[in-house]
């Protein structure tokens, strides 16, 4: 029992040291990026407890420019833009997480199968990838989202469809490389079944580029989700989603502050994720730099 | 006494490793070359021979630290402002590099690259005239159909032709000195001799001094007036060509001679065992001691200085030449 405790302590310590090791190596910009992302994640989890106005309620006079009372002004319905911007994270951030997660899982699974089994599997999956990337991403997302009907869920499905091929290609390339490694060939020679070889011996070594890419794509997904909402295919008006807030702002662009807050929020997430992704790539994946 | 064409005094080149430790790739070398003469610098890769030459031309990456003296026709090159040394590079000192494929710019026609060398030092020459001159230079290095060749790209040349073009480019401004860094190493054996002959003939014809850097003692044997043998950042033996071969003092030189394949003697090749030390982890004493069959305790503790011991200058506690050699036998 004591042994068990101490070993789990050791694991914890190792993890902590790993984090310290990482923080020492990450450049300053990446640390800033990580801090910004952390801020938004905390906002998602706790924003409803923050001492700010109700994002859906009319709290002041309509179309007030930024002032001491309303730092980012009020919108056409007298709602506090700052509060709506902070609450917007509850929509944008989790959606981006879900989309990136699904794209990574689906894409990696497809890519791993294509790379590991080769032959027909490879041909079929990779041709599907080729066709999918033949569409300009936003047009495909728009088409899928429109065909499925407006709404955040459908927009998310559309984005997964746009994004999975990237991870399929990435994982396939990794698996092809790993398959040649000695320990994998040894496992195959040792009689391990293909599923076992793939999941135990190959996949655990293939995650680094995928995770780095996922970090960088996170911001791009936030951007595309907001774009779809802006067009009217994502979140629907009363919800304070960033893209639809900018869309409201576009309708009254003389009152520039309505769009200002959500735009800055999107910019911060996109910049943060590319800063962090860049740093992670420099630390873990020197070959690609 | 004439001013030497090139004179190196205690030239040192330091590099920093990833952890920030300094190490010397060239640890204080002295060399000199008179006008119109040929100096062969011989050593294994990593001995610092190329680094030393690139150092006084200020062609090393910016992380390198260069100390000591290098005088070219009496003028100090170390610490010379970039704008001044630029006027010497390519004008008074021409360079021929090892791999002519990578040394030429792949997306620019050969003629244009030679023309650039001319126009960089004489802006009064028109591009057209410079290309004409490039054509003449290609003809001088025996490249057939120069008018067609000037318009071609480096990859359209064969390896030997490329190196001829490289020599033509180095000669473009009639330099006083040519530094040839392993000019034949990347070439097929069959064309190596042609390129060497070309280099030597043109040098003689134009009365140009030549520093020939090579790892192959055989290459310099028939060409050089003097030879300097380098090992791990130092000159270990220096002298006129004849005594270097026939009154060898340093065991390393002797080992290099042993590694030269000869036709007339059917003796087996005698490779040198082991590898040179990393510049970041040199042994105390003589750097060659770990690989030297004659090494004794003194060699492992005291670093020998380069001094005349017989017909050549050598850095060895137990030189092999003259009486000493006889004594051992």
């Amino acid at each position: 029992m004591t042994e068990l405790v101490s070993s789990s302590d050791a694991v914890k310590r190792a993890r902590f040291n790993g984090l310290k090791w990482l923080m020492r190596r990450l450049p300053l910009t990446s640390k800033i990026g990580a801090a910004i992302l952390l801020f938004w994640i905390i906002a998602v989890l706790t924003v409803s407890f923050w001492p700010i106005d109700d994002p859906l309620a009319m709290v002041g006079r309509r179309l007030q420019p930024p002032s001491g009372d309303y730092w980012l002004g009020t919108d056409a319905l007298g709602r506090d833009v700052l509060s709506r911007t902070l609450h917007g994270s509850v929509w944008s951030i989790p959606i981006a997480f879900v989309v990136v997660f699904c794209a990574v899982v689906i894409g990696s699974a497809m890519g791993a199968v294509a790379g590991f089994f080769g032959g027909w599997w490879d041909s079929i999956i990779m041709r599907l990838v080729d066709v999918t990337v033949s569409f300009p991403p936003i047009l495909l997302a728009m088409a899928v989202a429109a065909m499925l009907g407006p709404g955040l869920a459908n927009a998310s499905i559309a984005m997964v469809i746009v994004w999975w091929p990237i991870y399929a290609r990435l994982m396939r390339a990794q698996v092809l490389e790993m398959r040649e490694r000695d320990h994998v060939e040894a496992a195959v020679a040792g009689g391990a079944g293909p599923f076992r070889v793939l999941t135990i011996h190959v996949l655990p070594l293939c995650w680094t580029p995928t995770l780095i890419n996922a970090t960088m794509d996170f911001g791009q997904v936030v951007l595309l989700a907001a774009s779809l909402s802006f067009i009217g295919l994502g979140a629907t008006p009363p919800s304070p989603e960033w893209g639809s807030m900018i869309s409201e702002g576009a309708a009254r662009f003389y009152n520039w502050w309505i769009a200002f807050g959500p735009g800055m929020a999107i910019l911060s997430v996109v910049l943060a994720s590319s800063f962090l992704g860049d740093g992670l790539r420099d630390v873990f994946d020197r070959r690609s730099t | 006494m004439t001013t030497p064409l090139l004179e190196l005094k205690d030239l040192r080149v330091g590099f920093k490793d990833a952890e920030g430790n300094w190490a010397e790739a060239v640890c204080g070398i002295d060399l000199s070359l008179d006008p119109g003469k040929v100096l062969g610098i011989v050593g294994e890769s990593g001995s610092g021979k190329s680094v030393a030459m690139m150092a006084f031309l200020q062609l090393l990456p910016s992380g390198a630290r260069v100390d000591g003296h290098a005088r070219f026709m009496g003028e100090e090159l170390i610490g010379m402002p970039a704008s001044r040394i630029r006027r010497i590079r390519g004008k008074d000192i021409g360079c021929v590099f090892q791999d002519p494929l990578t040394a030429f710019n792949p997306v620019i026609p050969i003629g244009k690259q030679i023309a650039e060398a001319i126009r960089l030092h004489d802006r009064s020459v028109s591009q057209r005239d410079a290309i004409k001159e490039a054509e003449r230079l290609l003809e001088m290095v025996s490249i057939p159909q120069p008018a067609r060749r000037v318009r071609q790209y480096p990859h359209e040349f064969s390896g030997g032709m490329r190196q001829r073009a490289m020599i033509a480019m180095a000669l473009a401004n009639r330099p006083r000195l040519i530094i040839a860094d392993e000019p034949t190493t990347a070439l097929d054996v069959t064309v190596q001799a042609q390129i060497l002959d070309l280099l030597v003939d043109l040098r003689k014809e134009l009365d140009i001094g030549l520093v020939l850097i090579t790892h192959d003692l055989g290459v310099v044997s028939g060409i050089a007036d003097e030879i300097a043998v380098m090992y791990s950042g130092r000159v270990v033996e220096r002298g006129a060509t004849e005594p270097i071969f026939y009154e060898t003092a340093h065991p390393y030189t002797s080992a290099l001679i042993g590694a030269v394949p000869t036709i007339d003697e059917a003796k087996p090749l005698d490779p040198i065992e082991g590898t040179p030390p990393s510049i970041f982890a040199r042994p105390p004493g003589c750097s060659f001691a770990p690989r030297c069959k004659r090494a004794q305790d003194k060699c492992r503790s005291n670093d020998p200085a380069l001094e005349f011991q017989g017909a050549t200058a050598s850095a060895c506690h137990f030189p092999m030449n003259g009486a000493f050699r006889a004594e051992i036998q």
Binding site: T132, A143, M147, F230, I246, Y254, G263 | A82, N105
Partner: protein, 337 residues
């Protein structure tokens, strides 16, 4: 080189078939009833219309037949009829295409010029403040939500500073030049109308800048890293040994080599440009395909969305093919063989 291009050319019909099939699948998926993609809801009760549409698209026939009919229509250039404009989608797109092309071409010029300049600056002053600043400007460009930066810049330069005119391709009451190429800038010059030319340039400036800035990031990053790599190559050392100063090595030697990878990513940036064009056109009321697509998507004009998607994919594939050819042409090592 020829073999390389031919290989790419052979792949294109297959990819187009794939694109068409996916579009067909999407049109069949629509709320379970493909009819909904073809007939506006208010016309559903009109049995005559429904029967006509069913006959036209063969909806009364089994799936494979419908698929064949769909492909047949596509090959003839028939993309269906827009719900909103009541005109053939193909005709709508053809009419709006020049506006989008003019915008995208100008944005490409802006983006490449900016990207090359910033890349050269940051490579020349590597590690300095100039370097960080140039990279930051480029990175912000590719991180900005274009539908927001367009809005803010429009407000700033048009409303507040009155430097540029408002939205659209020309002022509201000005007639466009006689149609030759569809590019207002070129057509106005052909017509010899200088003031019209200046007006069209003024209208083009801001959207082209906003869109161009978006691709600056990718180009800057690539140009910078290729230049830095080039400056460390043997040929750069040779140039220095010839007596070339650093800026000559950078411009005459590293830059020509950097152009080759630059060409390879122009096709890739085209994807960004299409994405950006859709949103830029929406902000600047630019009467191109992008604003058409946005209107179609928000009003669920399915034939129009499908049409735009297919045309966009064809353009995308063509852009990539052109990139391949351009790459092969620019690289002397490939050009000859």
């Amino acid at each position: 080189m020829l073999a390389y291009v031919i290989k790419r050319l052979i792949a294109i019909p297959f990819l187009l078939l794939g694109v068409a099939s996916v579009s067909f699948m999407l049109s069949q998926m629509t709320k379970g009833d493909p009819l909904a993609a073809l007939v506006p809801e208010r016309m559903m009760s009109n049995t005559e219309v429904v029967a006509a549409v069913k006959a036209e698209w063969g909806l009364d026939k089994p799936l494979p037949v419908r698929y064949a009919a769909y492909l047949g229509n596509l090959v003839q250039g028939d993309l269906g009829t827009s719900f909103a404009t009541r005109r053939p989608v193909a005709a709508d797109i053809a009419q709006r295409l020049p506006a989008t092309l003019e915008l995208v071409v100008c944005a490409m010029i802006v983006g490449t010029t900016l990207g090359l300049s910033l890349g050269l600056l940051s490579a020349k002053y590597r590690g300095s403040v100039v370097d960080s600043l140039a990279r930051m400007v480029a990175l912000v460009g590719s991180s900005l939500p274009i539908f927001w930066s367009g809005l803010i810049l429009l407000y700033l330069f048009s409303v507040r500073l009155s430097i540029v005119p408002g939205t659209g391709r020309l002022p509201a009451r000005v007639d466009p030049p006689p149609d030759v190429t569809g590019f207002y800038t070129i057509d106005s010059l052909i017509a010899g109308d200088l003031s019209l030319f200046l007006q069209s340039i003024a209208h083009l400036a801001l959207p082209a800048f906003v869109l161009g800035w978006a691709v600056t990031g990718i180009i800057t990053r690539l140009v910078r890293s290729s230049l830095i790599e080039g400056m460390a190559q043997d040929y750069a050392r040779t140039a220095r040994a010839k007596g070339a100063p650093e800026h000559v090595v950078l411009i005459n030697h590293a830059l020509p080599n950097a152009m080759i990878p630059l060409l390879t990513i122009l096709g890739f940036t085209f994807a960004y440009l299409i994405t950006g064009a859709v949103l830029t056109e929406a902000i600047f009321s630019w009467p191109g395909i992008g604003s058409y697509a946005v209107r179609a998507a928000s009003s669920l004009d399915y034939p129009a969305i499908g049409g735009v998607t297919i045309v966009g994919s064809v353009a995308f594939l063509l852009a990539n093919l052109l990139t391949d050819i351009g790459y092969a042409w620019a690289n002397p090592r490939i050009r000859v063989h």
